[in-house]
């Protein structure tokens, strides 16, 4: 853990910036909310209409030369990444926030304030876009057995082969089952693209914005089923309209063997400009 | 699900737990020879019908030896 400020020489401290919020929203409650049970001491640096949500960190730990090998230490890394996300989620409960990318560190308060003032216009524009909104993640997985039992049966060859396979014996049964598997697999391949489009179009119409993210590898998704879709949507904080569309979509698509998995609400990582425009 | 169905299911899952451990777990001290087991999809090829007496927690364990003697 990062040592509390008192013991470190002042000059050795930099500012780790998690994100930027609007001063008018960053009320006392946000300060209190952040302080409550904070594993990581978070401070609000107000500069005009904007507030930088940041922590003092040891420059030695985040020194640019030391960082590349630090990044090969999975435990240090996961702890820092989770802290970054955890702080922003606590902010999101009280205010809209423009999240920064991981590891944005300033040598001193002067540099941080200069950023908030020089880039104020672009930051305010980004904030306006996400004000009162949150990001929701939607992933879709296909359960092969349910797909084979349901949707695949609409394919005549599959239905016909299934009938034969169930009566065959010994080696022939094994071979027919193999062939059936291949047929179902190719039917699934065709169906995946169609399912992803159907999901994205339906959800986009109920959201303010949305985009398709790359599929995640099974070891990362933690699910044994195959992922067929991964998307992010910018929606109003109460999410009423979006959840209505999402619920009926989930119900309709379930018969095809597709399960939806919801994540969030997130800070709007996917809906802020990567490169801030000129200040 | 009837009792006997549950019993069959429990035995089959136990068998899969066994195969999963032997093939996917355990420490790997690798030489240059790897026996490709992928070709033999043990679950489909007959093994799943091997309802041997691989016991679960409750029953006394005569375990694999009976399984080993199966077809």
């Amino acid at each position: 853990m990062i040592a509390p400020t008192a013991t470190l020489p002042r000059k050795g401290l930099g500012w780790y910036l998690y994100g930027v919020a609007a001063a008018d929203e960053a009320s006392a409650r946000l300060g209190a909310g952040l302080a409550a049970g904070a594993a990581q001491e978070v401070e609000l640096v107000t500069e005009g209409p904007l507030v930088g949500v940041a922590s003092r960190v040891s420059l030695e730990e985040f020194d640019e030369q030391a960082l590349p090998d630090r990044l090969s230490d999975a435990t240090w890394l996961e702890q820092k990444i989770r802290t970054h996300e955890h702080v922003l989620e606590r902010v999101l409960e009280h205010a809209s926030v423009v999240p920064c990318r991981f590891c944005t560190v300033y040598r001193g308060e002067v540099e941080l304030r200069r950023f908030l003032s020089e880039r104020g216009e672009a930051l305010e524009a980004a904030l306006d876009r996400v004000r009162g909104r949150v990001e929701v993640g939607v992933k879709a997985f296909v359960d092969r057995d349910r797909f084979a039992a349901g949707r695949a049966r609409q394919n005549d060859d599959i239905r016909q082969l299934e009938a034969q396979a169930s009566t065959a014996e010994g080696g022939r049964a094994y071979l027919e089952r193999r062939r059936l598997e291949q047929l179902v697999a190719s039917e699934l391949e065709r169906f995946r693209g169609e399912a992803a489009d159907r999901i994205h179009t339906r959800l986009l119409s109920a959201a303010e914005d949305g985009l398709v993210l790359p599929l995640q590898a099974p070891e990362l998704s933690g699910r044994a089923e195959e992922m067929v879709f991964n998307g992010a949507y910018l929606v109003t904080a109460d999410r009423v309209g979006f959840e209505e569309a999402l619920g009926s979509l989930a119900r309709d698509i379930r018969d095809d063997g597709i399960d939806l998995e919801l994540t969030g609400p997130w800070p709007a990582y996917n809906f802020v400009p990567e490169e801030l425009g000129a200040g | 699900m009837s009792m006997s169905e549950q019993q069959t299911l429990k035995q089959q899952v136990t068998l899969l737990e066994l195969v999963d451990r032997v093939l996917n777990k355990g420490v790997v001290v690798s030489g240059d020879i790897t026996l490709s087991v992928a070709g033999v999809d043990l679950v489909y090829v007959g093994l799943r019908v091997l309802l041997s007496s691989v016991a679960t927690l409750e029953e006394p364990r005569e375990r694999i030896s009976a399984a080993g003697a199966a077809p």
Partner: protein, 220 residues
Amino acid sequence: MIHLYGVVEELEALPPVDGVGAEPLERRRIEGLELVVSRTALEGSDVTQAAVLSHANVVEALMARSGAVLPARFGHAFSDEHELAAAVRTKASALARGLTLVRGCVEFGLRVLGDDKAPENGSRELSGRDYMRARLAEEQARWRLAEELHEPLARLSRASARFGGASSDLLQSAYLVPRQEVDVFGEHVRRFEAAHPHLTIVCTGPWPPYTFAANGEEDA
């Protein structure tokens, strides 16, 4: 070709059991580690269920006759003694750590298969949002249920692992349980099973510590 079954500690005597391909078991001592092997002429095509089961059989028998066993994964063989020795030498410290971890423990596997109540009854009348909220509530209940069973078992165990099984599985996990805790472990599972008759709970074991055999390598 030399087939490795595992690394053992305080093995009284080789069990009266045949190895893979009905070959006799032999002992080797390399880098202070004791290994049990057999000289087996297994070709790729010989890999049958009998071979897999006899590997499991030998490891079981070793469990009963030694202080600790680190099961070797089936399917990794060595062309000669020299290659076996070299491979063991590179992993000697990790294997030693593994033995210390598993000493005096047995492994249990747990699978809790989802309940069979059809989630779809009467869901057609629900609004989209209510349907979604119902599914989320269902998910949350399943997560709490899995935690309710897993937490006390993990606390009893020297090590535990949870696997991302199919979403329909409520829980898929393994536990390295010290022998003196086995009865309490079993009691926990039985009490949970009695309290949740609609769930299919399959607790398997006691196994040799397959799942935790490689843990020694992690702290390397």
